[in-house]
């Protein structure tokens, strides 16, 4: 090994049940970059850090939400949520959703998005959900490729789905039959 070589940690996908402050800092950093890059799950510009921290802490206390994070080189660089139906929703109790799914631009190209999506899918399967749904802006080409290459079917397009700060963009709605996925 040369003086400048080092061991690169393997990417890790994990569930987050509580935040270490350093992990929350990293998650907010990653989300800031994703928002600037146009993948802001609602935000057009990065919110004040206190606002974003409150958002992520809030995710952890909502009982139907599971938060997953992608870690690279030991630091959180992206996240996604499995959003489950409330218990009163018996008719659609078989459908779960993926939300706030992103990998920071500086951590792309390492297979983290595929891994993160697979972990969320496996959690849904383990909890006996049959369908996984996700919706994205038409401009999120990387996410669209990821979904379409992983068995997600686009079943609807919604006009004026989102305002991107300049114009309205459409939204693409995808679903996946989890019966097609091999359990881990």
């Amino acid at each position: 090994m040369s003086e400048n070589s080092r061991t690169i940690s393997q990417p890790v996908i994990e569930t987050i049940n509580e935040f270490e402050q350093s992990d929350l800092d990293d998650l907010c950093d990653a989300a800031d970059q994703a928002i600037i890059d146009g993948n802001g799950f609602g935000w057009l510009t990065p919110p004040r850090r206190a606002v974003q921290e409150a958002f992520w802490k809030g995710v952890l206390i909502v009982p139907v939400r599971e938060l997953y994070c992608a870690r690279f080189e030991g630091r959180i660089v992206g996240s996604g949520q499995l959003v489950k139906p409330f218990s009163n929703n018996e008719a659609s109790g078989h459908i779960a959703q993926v939300a706030t799914f992103f990998i920071a631009p500086y951590a792309r190209g390492h297979g983290l998005a595929i891994g993160l999506l697979a972990v969320i899918e496996q959690s849904a399967i383990a909890q006996d959900f049959k369908i996984l749904e996700v919706d994205v802006r038409e401009t999120q080409s990387a996410a669209i490729s990821l979904l379409e290459n992983n068995g997600y079917e686009r079943w609807a397009v919604k006009e004026k789905y989102a305002w991107n700060g300049v114009k309205f963009v459409d939204g693409y709605y995808y679903k996946k039959d989890l019966g097609m996925v091999e359990p881990a």
Binding site: S2, E3, N4, R6, I8, Q21, S22, D25, D26, C28, D29, Q33, I36, D37, R49, E73, R75, A104, P105, Y106
Partner: protein, 213 residues
């Protein structure tokens, strides 16, 4: 030995601190990384890092709001010649002026202006965001172990233009030449984020921590 990362309210410094701590650990350096807003600590530090995100004017205002900080920086960097590393807007503040929301005075350590990016290709988006290939313009000691074409992570809408082309140590191409690294004497600045630039960023940080200008 103490390297200080200056906290003046410009974004999250933990990310930068972690990267520097990792370099210290991997290079087995006898050094402490301290995040501080205490000018006296900056004045007595062995090495100084000035990060910064957002607008030039806001960052300069934030720095000015910390009583005695700019004087401590001048004392440590200019008078005592301590190694200095500016990151993103922290680098831009080394310029004479920032031309963003009016004209704002910088430190004037490296003569030049910070101006809006103007890529010749209109399809290139601003901010310039993502990975880009460094074109090294010099054989600076901080480039030990680095090569032309290595990628670093950028997110910025403004860039520094220097009066002396020799102060530009590396460039990238983004619809024209964009300043990526500046430096002279005991100071260096990167427009990109070394703390988010994986291997290349860690190499640069480690070299800075070992640098004896």
């Amino acid at each position: 030995m103490e390297t200080v990362i200056i906290d003046y309210g410009s974004g999250n410094l933990r990310s930068a601190a972690k990267a520097f701590e990792r370099s210290v650990s991997e290079a087995d350096l006898d050094m402490e990384i301290v995040v501080t807003r205490d000018p006296s600590r900056v004045r007595h530090a062995d090495r100084i890092v000035l990060p910064g995100v957002g607008a030039f004017k806001a960052c300069k205002s934030g720095l000015n709001a910390v009583r005695g900080m700019e004087e401590a920086l001048v004392d440590a960097v200019i008078e005592k010649g301590r190694p200095f590393f500016g990151i993103c807007v922290g680098m831009q503040l080394m310029a004479t002026r920032g031309i963003e929301y009016g004209v704002t005075e910088g430190f004037d350590w490296i003569a030049g202006d910070v101006v809006k990016l103007a890529p010749t290709d209109p399809s290139l988006k601003i901010p310039h965001m993502g990975w880009n290939e460094l074109s090294l313009q010099s054989t600076h000691p901080l480039f030990d172990g680095m090569e032309n074409g290595q990628h670093t992570y950028f997110v910025h809408s403004y860039q520094m233009t220097t009066a002396n082309p020799g102060h530009v140590l590396a460039r990238v191409e983004y619809g024209g030449d964009v300043t990526a690294i500046i430096g002279r004497d005991n100071m260096i600045g990167t427009q990109f984020h070394p703390e988010k630039s994986q291997e290349t960023g860690l190499t640069l940080i480690t070299n800075f921590l070992k640098w004896k200008p």
